[in-house]
Symmetry: D2
């Protein structure tokens, strides 16, 4: 159940400052950083409205941004309709356990339905226990694991 | 090392018959089927040349199609350049162990380099032992596992 | 750090009532039950002092049993000394996060050292997130997974 | 089906030379070594007939030892009867795929039945694909993973 004072809405131009703060905290979780140019480009792409670009949702509570989600519609060979890839999901650690992450995922599900692309998937590290406690409730673990080219 | 008589080349209009045979065998491996409309649409998308559609490579040996790969370039929030998602990879089971799968993956790597999107990733089932024997050689297992929305 | 008012001590004859309560709650966690004869036999074995039987430790707080650990020394082909298998570990769910589980594991480590069998291992379900948060701190995940005969 | 010329029998005193060769190859697989004293002690324990020591089975083909299995009966808190832990299983790599590993496991199952301890379990590395292809046929993967004390 979404908390009363929580709003999930599309990312907007004015959110840039807060969005940078939240996304940096998210990247910290993965012990990574991105250069300034990636912040600038990704923010612009999120707001572009282009159907092949990532979209952004933010969670607002008490006039403050407390969470974000970045999702992309992309082709799949197995279906006519697109599927939705949820790449980034973040919730202010001080507000964990209050339904923000779940509300963001459910809002992505609603967007996916609206776009006729009900399939939604995401990746998480096997040892992301806090995340998986939520994911087991709102989704289902598949037997698929990710490989990548050596970098 | 690519076998001498093996050619990897882009999927072409004339391959439809053989492509259907190989892709059906691939879908059988995953114990799934897709309707005729998906065959038709996916084949057309693979040949469309649209940068947001899947691309196809096929392996040819002795005048016969013996393998295929479907890959997609898509955005990532973490980088300026796109990344390459290898969704489908298949090699005729009677010709396993002769370098066809590896040659297809390496050809996808080359395409990714050519498109300025060197990052390549794919998903496989944890228990796909035959596949993973190859993937451990040409790539690296990550700690990421896939979740999806309940269907 | 062990909480001030927490005592870890060997299971004793007088603990039977409380031990049954805690072990039942533990078995509930694994959605299993055992017949009365197993309660009786296991409790007797835990107190037998026989070197090939399981040993029991309990956690006591405020005059109440709040946790238990069952561990066994057994041979290994790879070493001269025995190793220690921690089969059952349980902490009253209402007192989670206060160091009881960790104190029990550390007490098992100390017993293992005392017996000249410093190697200690245990199994846990991949999705036991709460347990694994603790285990990642006091031990290390290995790449080993458990197979068993069909039952 | 056990190959015609394959015999599975208990390890015997005269097998020491061949047993050392096979066990060394097995330990090589795990990139480990054990000192001479462990070879001597483990071999003696395997032949001791003591119910709390490991037992050995060997596979013989054409007058040659081609495989081994080391298994232990031990207590479990959850049952009256013991369970059987299969620690070491090895088959000469040049004879893989001919039913030697499977015959050894089935012989361990038969020993477990004979001892009234039908439950048999073993551990394997998640990436032991060759082993797991066999284990998925003769047994079942459980969700349990192994943790151990830092060494």
């Amino acid at each position: 159940m979404r908390p009363d004072d929580l709003t999930i809405r599309p990312l907007a131009q004015d959110d840039e400052h807060d969005w940078r703060r939240l996304w940096t905290a998210y990247l910290d979780f993965y012990k990574t950083r991105v250069p300034e140019e990636v912040y600038r480009t990704t923010f612009a792409r999120l707001l572009s409205g282009d159907p092949w670009e990532f979209n952004g949702l933010v969670a607002e509570q008490g006039g403050k941004l407390v969470g974000l989600a970045h999702y992309l519609f992309h082709r799949t060979c197995w279906k006519l309709e697109n599927v939705c890839y949820l790449q980034d999901l973040f919730c202010d650690p001080e507000r964990r356990g209050r339904g923000i992450g779940r509300s963001l995922i459910e809002a992505v599900y609603a967007e996916a339905d609206k776009h006729g692309a009900p399939g939604v998937w995401w990746l998480t590290q096997e040892h992301n226990y806090m995340g998986r406690m939520l994911y087991d409730k709102v989704g289902v673990k598949t037997p698929f694991i990710r490989y990548s080219r050596h970098e």
